[in-house]
Amino acid sequence: MSRAASPKAERTRRVLDEARGVRAMVWIIAIMLFLTVLGAALGLATRNAASALEGELTGRATVQIVATDPARQAAQATEALAMLRGLPEVRAVQAVDREELAALLKPWMGTDGADPDLPVPAMIDLDLATESPAALARVRSALRQVAPDARVDAQEAWMAPVADFLDLVVLIAAVLVLLLAAATAAVVVLAARAGLDAHRHTIEVMHMLGSTDVQVARLFQRRIARDAAIGAAIGSLAAIGMLLLVNAQAAELGSQLLGQASLGPSGWAALAMLPIAFVLLAALAARFTITRALETVL
């Protein structure tokens, strides 16, 4: 029977009628994947930005010396600079000169920030050799000896609210991805149940001919997995296209923060895994739903 080998014959012998029902699930899964990939991309990029920020700020501190007498302030700054260079806890020391301070103040004060009579603190940037609070405490203690008017601030502490905010964004993105996965599973369960109703007659016949629950479930599983794969491909490609567009526009802005919020190779790999994970989820949800439903009939 040569027709048995042809693709047309293969299609016609499918036990579940392929022509029945609108394949709405393809489009629902496509929308789910589109949103999931965007949500995951937001979470991954934010996580990367948070990691980069943490990497930049961890182990860095700023010394501020504020004295009412400019001469006393300058003297304490010079002594502090010399002392800090000799501390084992300090890897690098950099005094922030008056011009840099004026540049920092410019957005708020304009050219007045460069006024030599303007009282501004003496500032020293530190790179600590170790990140421990004990090392910072030793630096503070040593500074107190030579510069009683000095204050040491860990840069990490300044940026803690920003880091917390970025962590919150990552958490929200993770919750979003999980909710979308749950919604996808729910859609598959509904589709599988609808499929069971639509094909009840065929399933009854298969049961009477000795078909096992697993054999019946496999038919639905295969069909739903195929629909999910088509939907996942459409949704993922659309989302990735949008991400590339956003990426290109962000690159044009030249923003340092946006640059740090890139996905990186591991992020893109994680996004590429999402459609596969969703197809597996859909197949498992279909199998579970069908086998559970069939257990209620003889």
Binding site: T12, R13, H207, M208, G210, S211
Partner: protein
């Protein structure tokens, strides 16, 4: 030889209604041929449903192929169903499959390699006179043709027991005789055959067959032979 089917005081009730079948006791010998007869509503289809494991009884004992079919776990039912061929009164063909694919369904379910399916399917369709309609969908076939597809599907896997509910109800006398010949051939190869029918003429064509008669859900067995059925020796 052990009986292939044994019913002891079997009763069947749907929901809270009265018993459709009451105190049914009989045994079927392997390789024998039985006709099940009775008026409409007597319980023939219900009895057949118990035989092909589509229904569990409300009470009593059913032993099938030597095993307790009442308490048998659900997971074992498919294996037993594959040993039983069923011709349903309403055919129950899968509407979107061709005649050939409907006939091939039991073989595919049993896991037969695809390459080995085509030949027996063609032979079976030729035997029931539907070789030319192999690719036809059930909706394009007449009632009689659909019934022949259903019969071909029931016998293609050479079941140990064949259960047929009014299998010749929609075919002409000539085809009915031919189908009965098919059942008889299968029976001579060792298959136990149970045919529910009203057709006296049909019953007369299988001289060695025994008759079970249902009257208002009770089995009439005045001779007692159904309890101690003589086995028909395979040819």
């Amino acid at each position: 030889m052990a009986n292939i089917v044994q019913f002891e005081n079997v009763g069947l009730r749907y929901g809270n209604g009265p018993e459709t079948l009451s105190d049914i006791s009989f045994a079927l010998a392997p390789g024998s041929f039985y006709f099940l007869t009775g008026a409409s509503g007597a319980g023939k289809t219900s009895l057949l449903r118990l035989l092909y494991l589509n229904q569990r009884p409300s009470r009593g004992i059913i032993r099938l192929f030597g095993e307790d079919a009442v308490t048998m776990p659900r997971s074992r039912l498919p294996g037993f169903r594959r040993r039983i061929g069923v011709v349903f009164q309403d055919f129950r063909l899968v509407p979107h499959l061709s005649a050939a694919d409907n006939v091939a369904l039991p073989l595919r379910i049993a896991g037969m390699p695809e390459a080995e399916i085509a030949e027996p399917v063609s032979e079976m369709l030729a035997w029931v006179g539907l070789a030319e309609q192999a690719d036809a969908k059930p909706e394009t076939l007449s009632g009689g043709e659909q019934q022949r597809v259903a019969i071909a599907r029931a016998v293609i896997a050479r079941p140990e027991m064949l259960v047929a509910d009014e299998p010749t109800g929609n075919v002409d006398p000539e085809m009915a005789e031919r189908l009965l010949l098919l059942f008889d051939s299968l029976n001579r190869l060792g298959t136990t055959v149970v045919v529910a029918t009203h057709d006296i003429h049909l019953m007369q064509q299988v001289p060695g067959a025994q008759m079970m008669r249902l009257v208002k859900g009770k089995l009439q067995d005045p001779t007692g032979t159904l309890r101690h059925p003589p086995a028909r020796e395979p040819a």
